[in-house]
């Protein structure tokens, strides 16, 4: 029995080794009940997608700095884990539960119905008015407005009279980007040709940069010289294609101008961070309001990105016209078609 003796000894050594750092364990499991508890459930992309989810994560982290909250997050990883994750927060009685992305809409509707005393927020969750719940804040963005402006920039910048659009998943939400973009471009040049492609019809379409690049190369081949992507991770493939072909691309959601400096004309930014920050703040100051919250050009929920990476790419006269159009949209003088409105 020499062998088991030595194994036992080895085990004890390991334990001793391990217990030393264990003395200064983080006692973070201690829970302060007086604080507002905020739970956030990310989309499949995860919080480090440099785009949509990252922006939401940015927002809650900023809120956690400014307000006394307990913040927990979960990256479900696969679509079937979304519901259990959200229910876990609800079961623990979290005050505010945030769902990131439209995929979670049916889940949040269910869970919010089961827990009427808790508050929920869903980003991009479009629900018909009669089905909306009083304890859910539906955070929506007027993507068509921002898309209109980047469409204008694309059309002014285009020398071939052809521009491209690459959407991720072929769904109404993305048609809204497409329609706004097209309208903006036509406002500048009524004869402009817009080539549109979608990466796919399932949610893997958000995460297929190879296909994104393929579509971009094909569009550049057909004469497009600016492409607007609204395709999550797949869009990054188009950034590669832009660099290789010496053409332009327009980013989406986060400011992506820095990704390929010199080739990114601008980005249509969707300030998910601001929306999330605001809803957390509202909850902490106990004036949370359910129902639809719309973020557009007027309240800086939507914008186009201008920074050191692209300021030389957009001529001043174009910028002036775009700013003028922005004001007109805010005033209501220009009505951009919302492809999701029926």
């Amino acid at each position: 029995m020499k062998l088991s003796g030595s194994i036992l000894l080895a085990l004890l050594c390991v334990l001793a080794l391990v217990l030393t750092p264990a003395c200064n364990l983080s006692k973070a499991s201690a829970d302060d009940k007086s604080k507002v508890h905020v739970g956030i459930v990310f989309d499949i992309g995860g919080k480090d997608d440099r785009s949509f989810n990252a922006s939401a994560w940015e927002g809650v982290k900023r809120a956690a700095k400014d307000y006394p909250i307990v913040l927990r997050d979960v990256e479900p990883g696969d679509p079937t884990s979304l519901e259990p994750a959200m229910r876990a927060f609800a079961e623990k009685g979290y005050d505010l539960i945030i769902g990131v992305g439209f995929t979670q809409t049916p889940v949040i509707q269910q869970v919010a119905h089961d827990y009427p005393n808790l508050k929920f927020a869903i980003i991009d969750g479009v629900v018909p008015p009669e089905e909306q719940l009083p304890n859910v804040a539906y955070l929506l963005f007027k993507e068509h407005q921002g898309s209109y402006l980047v469409g204008m920039i694309a059309a002014r910048k285009s020398q071939t009279g052809t521009i491209g659009f690459i959407g991720g998943m072929d769904i109404p939400l993305i048609h809204r980007f497409e329609k706004g973009y097209e309208e903006g471009a036509r406002a500048v040049n009524p004869n402009i040709k817009v080539i549109e492609n979608y990466v796919g019809v399932t949610d893997v379409a958000w995460n297929n940069p190879g296909k994104g690049k393929e579509l971009a190369v094909a569009q550049y081949g057909k004469g497009a010289d600016v492409i607007f992507t609204a395709a999550g991770n797949s869009g990054l493939g188009a950034f590669d294609a832009a660099e290789q072909n010496g053409k332009f691309v327009i980013g989406v959601d986060s400011d992506q101008n820095w990704v390929k400096p010199g080739f990114v004309l601008t980005s249509m930014v969707k300030r998910v961070d601001n929306a999330v920050y605001q809803i957390v703040g509202d909850t902490v100051q106990s004036h949370f309001q359910g129902g639809v919250h719309v973020f557009g050009l007027d309240n800086k929920g939507i914008d186009y990105a201008l920074d050191q990476y692209n300021e030389k790419l957009i001529p001043p006269d174009v910028l002036k016209d775009v700013e003028a159009a922005k004001q007109k949209i805010i005033n209501g003088q220009i009505q951009v078609t919302d492809a999701m409105a029926k």
Partner: protein, 365 residues
């Protein structure tokens, strides 16, 4: 004595895995006691913990039984995953096509006909999907592991295609079929058990799973077919010599295995989502976890139930550990599962050690 050993070894494996898990938790600077408290507490709390643990265990009982039956015939069914996808889609298809769903139905059957029909469709399609590799093995000797894996890919692609292009609601951004008819729903246990809210998806399929265990036991140990299957598994040459058609037993075992895996569709479609939701078994799927369940349950129906409950509890508790601890992620649970399997696999070694221990002690006396 044999029974005690059958119970003891998986138990030791589990304890050993938790011990190693505790060391890992310490290494990533978290508190193992708090972590295990959270893990076990959230899996056994009433009503949500127990409800979800049993709900997660239900499909694992089915797939564990499926793998066990095939294993008793000397076959490794890696294809439970594909079998359950096909079956779940078939159950949804019956629930839509014969349930009076507007524009998609050819009949409107009552619940008394529709539910058994949907269950039968799930079992039958699972059985067919399982029998194909069985036939290939019996007729041509091609290995069932390769063929069941290949059948998994075919199953997934096929049901995704039908969902996307034929059974999805217009404009639905989520890849799922239209809902099945309400008369195809099976009741959630919250309806009968006071204190158990109906939002917990634990449903009658759980009892179906327990019933399946009893039937599998009777089938394997109390019928001629079961005897022939086990004989084939124990020694094909001897079975053949004894007058058993081993080819037929292989096909039979694979078909039964597939039918059992197919019952996952009943829990998923008729009892939980009321529609087919594409790749519902993603992550480490029910079919693959079923292999571990069968292994830990020692390919016996009773063992399978306990192993499935254990894995169900881990799934439930793992989520809470992931969310509500500072450093520990849900991968800890994957590590625990892997360790359990490792220790079970290393059982022969343990068995030799302890056996010698026993001998020595007796010698001393």
């Amino acid at each position: 004595m044999k029974l005690l050993r059958e119970i003891l070894f998986p138990l030791i494996a589990v304890l050993a895995a938790f011990l190693v898990g505790a060391i890992i938790v310490l290494l990533i600077h978290d508190d193992p006691i708090e972590t295990y408290k959270l893990l076990i507490g959230s899996a056994l709390s009433w009503p949500d913990g127990i409800g979800y643990t049993l709900f997660y265990a239900t499909p694992l009982i089915f797939t564990g039984l499926a793998v066990a039956v095939a294993f008793r015939c000397g076959l490794l069914n890696i294809g439970a995953e594909g079998q359950l996808y096909v079956a779940a889609f078939a159950a949804a298809w019956v629930g839509i096509t014969f349930g009076g769903v507007e524009g998609r139905s050819i009949a409107n059957l009552s619940a008394w006909l529709l539910v058994p029909l949907a269950c039968f469709a799930a079992m039958a399609s699972g059985a067919v999907w399982g029998a194909v590799p069985g036939v290939l093995k019996a007729k041509f000797g091609s290995h069932e592991v390769i063929n069941t894996i290949m059948m998994n890919f075919i199953a997934l692609a096929l049901v995704s295609y039908f969902t996307q292009y034929h059974y999805k609601a217009q404009g639905d951004p989520i890849l799922q079929t239209v809902p099945i008819s309400a008369s195809a729903h099976i009741a959630r246990l919250g309806k009968f058990i006071p204190g158990l809210p109906e939002r917990i998806p634990l449903n009658i399929a759980f009892f179906l799973a327990l019933l399946a265990c009893v039937l599998v036991y009777i089938f394997l140990w109390r019928t001629k077919w079961g005897y022939e299957i086990r004989a084939t598994g124990a020694n094909p040459a001897a079975a053949e010599y004894g007058g058993i058609s081993t080819g037929r037993q292989i096909v039979l075992a694979m078909a039964v295995s597939g039918a059992l895996a197919g019952l996952v569709g009943v829990n998923e479609v008729l009892g939980y989502r009321y529609r087919y939701y594409d790749s519902f078994s993603s992550g480490v799927g029910y079919g693959f976890t079923g292999i571990a369940v069968a292994l830990l349950g020692r390919n016996h129906p009773v063992g399978v139930v306990f192993a499935a409950l254990f894995f169900g509890a881990l799934k439930r508790g793992g989520l809470f550990v992931d969310i509500f601890t500072e450093h520990v992620s849900k991968d800890l649970v994957e590590v625990l599962k892997a360790l359990v399997i490792l220790f079970v696999a290393a059982e022969l070694y343990f068995r030799g050690r302890l056996g010698r221990f026993g001998l020595m002690r007796r010698a001393k006396i």
